[in-house]
Amino acid sequence: MAPGSSRLARPTLDRGAATVVSVLIVDDDRDIRDLLAFKLRQVGFDVYAEADGEAGLAAAFEVRPDVVVVDWMMPKLTGLEVCQQLRAHDDVGSVGIILLTARAQEADVSRGFAAGADDYVVKPFSPRELVDRIHALLARAR
């Protein structure tokens, strides 16, 4: 799927055969989607991107990524709702979730983790640090 596109342009990842880590980016900010997509592809990940929570959730069920990087404040479904709905389903419930948000208050971070996020990154952010956090999350999951 092309970054920024709201439709999946790639077939569903065959997890049985896959050796490449797949990451789904859900963010309504086109700059962040595009930049992250380039950065994560450069690292060697399979990257999918969606611009709102509803499309992101649908893509998560279809693609079954290893990691979802999700913004909090988005149209249709918030990042927290995406987290909660992913965690509520057995088939995608174990996906790694990183919340990427401008909400930096202590209470916000607590809410993010309570909703099911594995990690919390505050905007403005460093793409390099986000990649490190994805690697750390994957290492913990192994």
């Binding site: 900010d29 595009d34 930049l35 450069q42 403005p124 952010f125 460093s126 390099r128």
Partner: protein, 360 residues
């Protein structure tokens, strides 16, 4: 000249004017559409190049844009990205923009005749956060337009430079002053780098500056500010500053603030100060505060009694024992005590993830 000649002539002229207006509108619409399409084409070509270079992060590489329009579009994409990034990617963008003259252009635009251009320039300089922009942004704080001064204050905050703190606090006093919220937010952006300036600000002649300094030192948890904040809480001329200082002492949480806070919670003090001091004594977690808080629990002022009950609930077994004791009785203090016990029980249950949690 007869009536029958004048009317058709006027109609003809009016028709001509209308046609001209229509043609001008149509031409403008075409031109705007063409410019937008051209900009979209340029963006589509430049964005992948820029993002790829940022992703790869090779220091020697830089995006190339041929022609003035391309360079302007590239700059606007980079300006849009700046506030979203930190770290190496952000530094890379700033380097490219500085070498392309974007900083120099933004500095020149701070002297534009149009206020909107000056405000945009202040915003860009703040996003770029280059130290060389400091004098330009400080100069804009004297601008005759409120919006430009506000943009300059925000820009100064984003520079994250200690020198901006006294400059911003000074704008809470005198002519062309800024709203306290604007200054406070700018100082929050500047971050703990400005705590020394904020400690100086506790002695500022303007109460608004002292108030903002108190709030931010509390937010930053600046331990070194405890003695000065304690003095402000005890004897500042402004009640608002005393209350803010008392709350800041609670946020910082130094045991050294206990004596001043107990004095502020005393019965001879204004109710707002007593309430703030009671809350802060709870934040300190010092069991020696139980006795004065027990007195404050019986305060006639609802806010003071409520704050004392909440504080006692956070002081461990000694504080809870007082609450359980008072909760047995009747009247306001018993009600506050029961509320605090219940809040504590619910908080404990929430933390354990047990919605039917046991009594605290």
């Amino acid at each position: 000249v007869g009536f029958e000649t004048v009317v058709p002539a006027v109609l003809l002229v009016l028709t001509g004017v209308l046609l001209l207006i229509g043609a001008a509108t149509w031409t403008r619409k075409i031109a705007v559409g063409w410019a937008e399409r051209r900009r979209a084409r340029l963006e589509a070509a430049l964005r992948p190049q820029l993002f790829e270079l940022l992703a790869e992060g090779r220091p020697g590489d830089r995006p190339t844009a041929e022609g003035r329009s391309s360079r302007r579009v590239l700059e606007s994409i980079m300006v849009g990205l700046l506030p979203k990034l930190r770290g190496a990617g952000r530094a890379q963008l700033v380097t490219w923009m500085e070498s392309d003259g974007a900083v120099a252009r933004a500095r020149r635009r701070t002297r534009s005749r149009r206020p909107v251009v000056r405000a945009q320039a202040a915003q860009h300089l703040g996003d770029l956060a280059v130290a060389s922009a400091l004098p330009d942004l400080v100069a804009l704080l004297d601008d005759r337009h409120d919006d430009v001064r506000t943009a300059a204050a925000r820009g100064l905050g984003k520079l994250g430079h200690a020198d901006t703190v006294p400059v911003l606090l000074a704008r809470l006093d005198g002519p062309r002053r800024l709203p306290a919220g604007v200054v406070a937010l700018a100082l929050v952006h500047a971050g703990p780098v400005g705590t020394e300036g904020l400690r100086e600000g506790l002695r500022h002649r303007a109460s608004a500056a002292r108030l903002v300094a108190c709030e931010l030192l509390g937010r930053f948890g600046d331990l070194a500010a405890t003695p000065t904040l304690a003095r402000r809480a005890l004897d500042d001329a402004s009640l608002d500053v005393r209350v803010a200082a008392a709350r800041a002492l609670g946020r910082i949480g130094s045991p050294a603030a206990g004596g001043a806070l107990v004095a502020c919670a005393g019965s001879g003090q204004p109710a707002a100060l007593r309430a703030a001091a009671a809350w802060s004594l709870g934040q300190l977690g010092d069991p020696t505060a139980v006795s004065p808080l027990r007195g404050a629990l019986h305060d006639r002022d609802h806010a003071v009694a409520h704050a004392a009950a909440t504080a006692l609930a956070s002081l461990g077994p000694e504080g809870l024992a007082v609450l359980f004791d008072v909760a047995e009785g009747l009247g306001g203090p018993a009600e506050h005590a029961r509320e605090a016990i219940e809040a504590r029980r619910l908080d404990g249950a929430r933390r354990r993830g047990d919605r039917f949690g046991r009594a605290a």
